[in-house]
């Protein structure tokens, strides 16, 4: 089941957008503060320059400082933002020698300015002012008194400059983001091109085209392409096996059907009821064999092509053995034999497996025992609990087989060197593949009473699997 969950593009875009916005917020905050800082520095140095220009204009007349403010100083202070400008020159006692506004310079400020130049922000007449104060050792002819020079202006210019600088930074950032976005779209187109190519190739494929892929892919997609390739390979193998099996099966079925055809054809040409009867007996036997062959071929096909993973369940092997023995003992085919069940272990014994396959396994073994032993033979099913494995066995007191034949009994179409009884020899091959599917082992040996004993050793269901 394929569930479409967004697109790669939107996923990439969302990630990119998230990181860019987080980064953008940081960058913008930083840009704002550095614009403010730059504006501050620019205007502060203007204030400083103005203060120096004023300082140079301080002159002493009769021991008193006299200031003639040069227009240059005020020009420096006056920006194009129509700011209000403040200046004051104070003598050593704090008396105002010159000034333009009645902004009070507190004694505390004077004291601090006397040691080193100070900067301060101050509210006056409802607006924020930036003030700069410094002390000047202005030497007159007679006296040497310090003079303090204070300058200041309102903040409009700074704010405007900050704004301009910040706007520029934002513009640069937005342009960068747009460019990055366009580049990202282009990059995604380029990066996803191999995926698109692969998709087109797969779409163009015929339903039964199982050849390996022929395309260029980047390293990241190699695993996927290889997985696809191996899927194609397995499908091809599966299909070939199916074709081979179908051919084998039809060949197998053709032989008895040909027999049926010729026998009935011959009988139709004859006139004697005895000949008809003889032919009918042969037809009946052959039809029975063909039915059995068909159901065995079906089991074989089911075993080979079973793709139902996890179809296994926890099975009580003893109950299954009992049930299968019960079922077979009732059958018409078993009436001439003595089928029985040896006393079973008292407690249930669990194994992991597929019920139908295990039933088929036991049924095939019973069927074989019925077919390859003379009427009246004793066939016994039973179970033995070993330390590591659970043994299910079936033994008979028939003629048995020689040891060298025993080794390759489970190859398909092998009948233990016997041509006297009917059968395709598929039974043990089915048994063998079911045994392997259950990770069990099969041992065929001579029974104590001279017949054959088939032992099936199953691993117990472990505690881990039981959970």
């Amino acid at each position: 089941m394929i569930e479409v969950e967004g697109t790669l593009k939107s996923r990439l875009a969302i990630w990119l957008l998230a990181t860019v916005s987080a980064l953008g917020v940081l960058l913008l905050v930083e840009a704002y503060f550095s614009s403010q800082h730059a504006a501050e520095r620019a205007y502060d140095s203007q204030l400083e320059a103005a203060a120096l220009t004023i300082a140079e204009a301080v002159q002493w007349e009769a021991g008193q400082p006299v200031v003639k403010i040069p227009s240059a100083a005020l020009q420096i202070l006056a920006t194009r933002h129509q700011e209000r400008v403040f200046y004051a020159v104070l003598d050593a006692d704090g008396q105002r020698v010159s000034g333009n506004l009645d902004l009070d310079i507190a004694p505390e400020w004077r004291r601090r300015a006397s040691s080193q130049p100070i900067w301060m922000n101050e509210a006056y007449q409802g607006t924020q002012w930036r003030l700069y104060g410094r002390e000047l050792d202005s030497a007159g002819w007679e006296t040497q008194d310090p003079v303090q020079i204070w300058v200041g202006h309102t903040m409009t210019g700074r704010e405007a400059l900050t704004e301009v600088l910040f706007e520029q930074a934002v513009t640069r950032f937005v342009i960068m983001v747009l460019l990055a976005g366009i580049l990202m779209l282009l990059a995604m187109r380029v990066a996803l091109a191999p995926l698109r190519r692969l998709r087109q190739q797969l779409r163009r494929r015929d339903a039964d085209d199982m050849r390996p892929l022929d395309t260029r892919v980047p390293e990241e997609m190699r695993e996927m392409a290889e997985t696809l390739d191996s899927l194609f390979t397995r499908q091809r193998q599966g299909r070939e096996a199916l074709l081979r099996f179908t051919a084998d099966a039809s060949h197998q079925l053709k032989t008895p059907l040909a027999g049926l055809q010729t026998t009935s054809e011959l009988a139709l040409k004859r006139d004697s009821p005895d000949a008809w009867r003889q032919a009918l007996v042969e037809v009946h036997g052959s039809a029975e064999r063909t039915s059995r062959l068909a159901s065995q071929l079906l089991s074989m096909a089911r075993l080979r092509h079973a793709v139902e993973a996890n179809a296994t369940s926890r099975i009580d092997a003893l109950a299954l053995l009992h049930e299968t023995a019960f079922d077979w003992a009732q059958r018409d085919a078993a009436q001439a034999h003595d089928i029985g069940l040896a006393p079973l272990p008292a407690s249930p014994q669990y194994i992991q497996g597929e019920v139908w396959a295990l039933r088929e396994l036991l049924g095939n073994l019973i069927d074989n025992a019925l077919r390859y032993t003379p009427p009246g033979s004793v066939i016994t099913l039973g179970a033995v609990c070993h330390a590591q494995t659970l043994e299910l066995y079936i033994e008979d007191d028939g003629p048995g087989v020689s040891p060298d034949v025993m080794a390759h009994l489970h190859h398909p179409f092998e009948r233990g060197d016997r041509q006297d009884t009917e059968g395709s020899g598929l039974g043990l091959a089915i048994v063998d593949s079911i045994v392997r599917r259950h990770e069990a082992r099969m041992q065929v040996e001579s029974a104590e009473k001279g017949g054959l004993r088939v032992r099936l050793l199953f691993p117990y269901l472990t505690q881990h699997e039981e959970e």
Binding site: S291, F326, A329, G340
Partner: protein, 222 residues
């Protein structure tokens, strides 16, 4: 006895008809789901032989409908699919027995006889097998029309065997019937079986042992 055969393959249908008619039965054959449904709603049958793969519908739905109406006519399912799931589903829906194709006619006849016997027993509350009859109400057993006076446990055992006559009665079921659910020795049941065997000697009936599985009351084949 009226038998209804629902089977779409003409060859099989014909041989079923020919095989079952000599058992003293009226056999009606239908090849389609719809016809069979009509026949089932109309008439009274003693046994239904139902093929699951019909051209116009699944036989299992027909079975489910039948049981939903409260009709307890015995149903024997015939199918080419021998999957376990199908079998379980069929029996869950109320089928009485199940036979996978291909089957031998001898086997089919045996199963049909067993089902008809059960059907008959439902009607007159009497078990009949060969020369034996058992009246469930009075507990009287007759063999060749002569009353057989049996001790309680032998009577109990014979009833158990006759309920499943023709097929194997599991030994656990017989043991529970005779001795309750307590522990009994392995030979206790065998003692009563051999006593019954002596009584049935020469009656044309016998009790066959299936080692470890159970016992079957069957007719001695010539």
């Amino acid at each position: 006895m009226r038998l209804l055969v629902i089977e779409d393959d003409p060859l099989i249908a014909r041989s079923l008809e020919q095989a079952l008619t000599p058992l003293g039965n009226i056999v009606e054959v239908f090849t389609h789901h719809a016809q069979a449904r009509e026949a089932l709603q109309g008439g009274q049958f003693d046994l239904v032989l139902l093929d699951l793969g019909l051209p116009d519908g699944n036989g299992l739905t027909l079975l489910a409908e039948l049981r939903q109406r409260g009709d307890t006519t015995p149903v024997l399912i015939l199918t080419a699919r021998d999957g376990v799931d199908d079998r379980v589903e069929g029996l869950d829906l109320g089928a009485d027995d199940y036979l996978a194709k291909p089957f031998s006619l001898a086997e089919l006849e045996a199963r049909v006889r067993a089902l008809l016997r059960r059907s008959q027993q439902r009607v007159d509350n009497r078990l009949v097998f060969g020369a034996l009859t058992f009246d469930a109400a009075s507990g009287v057993v007759t063999l060749n029309d002569r009353v057989l006076d049996l001790p309680r446990r032998e009577l109990c055992l014979l009833e158990g065997l006759m309920l499943h006559a023709g097929s194997i009665t599991p030994r656990e079921a017989l043991e529970n019937r005779l001795f309750g659910y307590g522990d009994v020795g392995p030979n206790a049941l065998e003692v009563y079986i051999s006593r019954l065997r002596k009584r049935l000697d020469g009656s044309g009936l016998r009790i066959r042992t299936f080692r470890g599985l159970g016992y079957r009351l069957e007719e001695v084949s010539s």
